[in-house]
Amino acid sequence: MDLLIFKAPILMVQASMDGILIGILFALIAYGMALQWGVMNIINIAQGELVIMGGYVAYFMYVIGIHPAFGVIVAPIIMYFVGVGLYKLVINKVVDRDLFISILATFGISILTQQLMNFIFGSDVVVAQSNFGTTMLFDNSVTLPNSKIFSALVSVIVAIVLVIYMKKSKLGRAIRATAQNARAAKILGVDTEKVYAATFGINAALCGVAGACIAITFTLHPYVGLPYTVRSFMIVILAGLGNLPGVALSGMALGVFEEFADYLLGTEFRIGAVFLLLVLILVYRRFKLSRKREYLK
């Protein structure tokens, strides 16, 4: 094998660091996915589009001259209202129904938002320059853009704040109660409709933070949302619902896997490798469970 990564093993360190830093972002998106899946029992295919939308908020700030790093504060606020609006328009009608209905309905939303973003921001690949500089490690052989470190830090802080909020606040308790048993929560006086709207809003806000981070570290394009959805779906089925350490770990593992796939197979197969990995994980789990005469539920 005369691949670059075997000739220069330091690239493995580079790939792992990159993978871990991007994996934290994936974990943040996946946390939102797990939240809405656990509470509302819907699978949101438009998750990736929410991320990209949050990214475009940061990009828009960059265009009008504000530093895009402030996007991590502005994007979640805007995205929260987008999420609540989306819930009021469409999602509230698919909450109690078959999961396939929610998959297909959010697929429609995803196509719609892709096209709208295409109209508003154009179909070019854009990036919001943060000018944070880079950190050099190991005799300048490993380069880490500071924007990546910044976004990983932001993600960790947001995740910690959210976990504390879910544990301590009244809304957090209501959300957890609804996730356990929506009917019982309703009987005990929880306004589940409001809880659902808030959950979807929080999910969208998380996507907004992640999107703003992606805008300053990577590139944005109206049609790259679906891979983010698939990544978060993959992380959730790896970790299980409501398992935050698991989500963080599998997010980082996925990031590292992707970076290595990038080096080993070539950039053109990166997304293909992610999608194939999801298929392989699902099939592996299906065979493991079928020994016990069970199936993925």
């Binding site: 309905a105 196509i111 096209q115 194939l276 099939v283 299906r286």
Partner: protein, 349 residues
């Protein structure tokens, strides 16, 4: 008697349509392809209750395979894709038709084999896991096809052009029209027959309650795989035809086109009413007329309209046209248990 009249009227319409509406020949051919897609999706989504987004995989495989064989039988494939095809190499009419029919047959068989091979792993998943898994499969196939140089990578490749010395483009569209019509009728007749047999009953049993079906002693996995193989066979052939009709194959926009054909087939079956024989046919027709009739008004906004259409149909009209008829006029469109059905049920015992 009433049915025979209806069928023969439709058949005659199908046969004479290219002469009645010469301007819409290609459009009606596309309609037949869409009907095939919707009907084969309904084998999984409607009859079996396995909502797949992955049938587009077989469509793309069939498309690439048919074009690849048509070219590869006579010319080096790699040079064809590099040189942009028809400029360097020209098929003689004999070569063209030989290549076309051999390619079309393989475009049916190979996807069916692929479905059989991956079916055992993937059809063990249920519900939304199956849906997401097949969605990922279709997109992965598109991404991977976009990285393979031999078939033109992201640029795509041209399928062999119609040989110029045997006739003009009118003859070409008539030729493809009748091939599409024959394939559509074959699909319809085959599925109509299959739904009446034990196979159809087992599919419905899987949809209603797979665990109970298994407890009754039915080896459900075998039937699920057979169902997928049947779908893959017809979808693959439709893909091979589509590649020739469009004349240009591109990995993510035409061959493994998840956001267009992949969603269209689901939408058409749901619009018409899933789980019925006629539903996908009606759904495809309505959808195609809507799409072609109104697409021009939404110029540039097609995908916005498509997204809204998906949401509206799925959220507000999930039972479809046939389902609505069934509810409204149960005496005419409701489930009728006829002799053949009853016999099949007795056999099941």
């Amino acid at each position: 008697m009433k049915n025979i009249l209806l069928y023969s009227a439709l058949l005659i319409f199908g046969l004479v349509a290219p002469f009645l509406f010469p301007a819409f020949k290609m459009q009606i051919s596309f309609l037949w392809i869409l009907i095939i897609l919707a009907m084969t999706w309904d084998v999984q989504g409607g009859q079996m209750g396995y909502n797949t987004f992955g049938n587009i995989l077989f469509f793309g495989i069939g498309m690439y395979l048919c074009a690849g064989i048509q070219i590869g039988m006579f010319f080096p494939l790699a040079e064809w894709t590099i040189s942009g095809g028809e400029k360097t190499f020209v098929h003689t009419p004999t070569q063209y038709f030989q290549g076309f029919f051999v390619g079309l047959i393989f475009a049916g068989i190979v996807p069916a084999l692929v479905a059989g091979l991956i079916g055992y792993g993937i059809l063990g998943l249920r519900g939304h896991y199956f849906a997401i898994c097949t969605l990922a499969l279709g997109i992965a196939a598109g991404e991977i096809a976009g990285g393979i140089e031999l078939i033109g990578a992201g640029q795509g490749m041209t399928s062999p052009p119609w040989p110029k010395n045997i006739g003009d483009t009118e003859l070409r569209s008539e030729f493809f029209y009748y091939i599409c019509l024959v394939l559509m009728i074959a699909t319809f007749v085959f599925l109509q027959w299959a739904y009446k047999t034990r196979f159809g009953l087992v599919l419905n049993a899987i949809r209603d309650n797979e665990d109970k079906a298994e407890a009754m002693g039915i080896y459900t996995m075998r039937y699920k795989i057979i169902g997928w193989v049947v779908s893959a066979f017809f979808v693959g052939m439709a893909g091979g035809l589509m590649g020739n009709m469009v004349g240009y194959i591109e990995p993510t926009e035409i061959a493994f086109a998840g956001p267009t054909f992949g969603v269209f087939m689901v939408l058409m079956a749901i619009l018409g009413g899933k789980g019925t024989l006629w539903g996908p046919v009606i759904g495809a027709t309505v959808f195609h007329i809507f799409k072609e009739g109104f697409w021009t008004f939404f110029l540039g906004w097609q995908y916005v309209a498509l997204g809204i259409l998906i949401v509206v149909i799925v959220v507000f009209f999930p039972e479809g046209i046939m389902g609505w008829f069934r509810e409204k006029y149960p005496e005419k469109f409701g489930e009728v248990i006829d002799e053949a059905d009853r016999k099949a049920q007795v056999e099941l015992k």
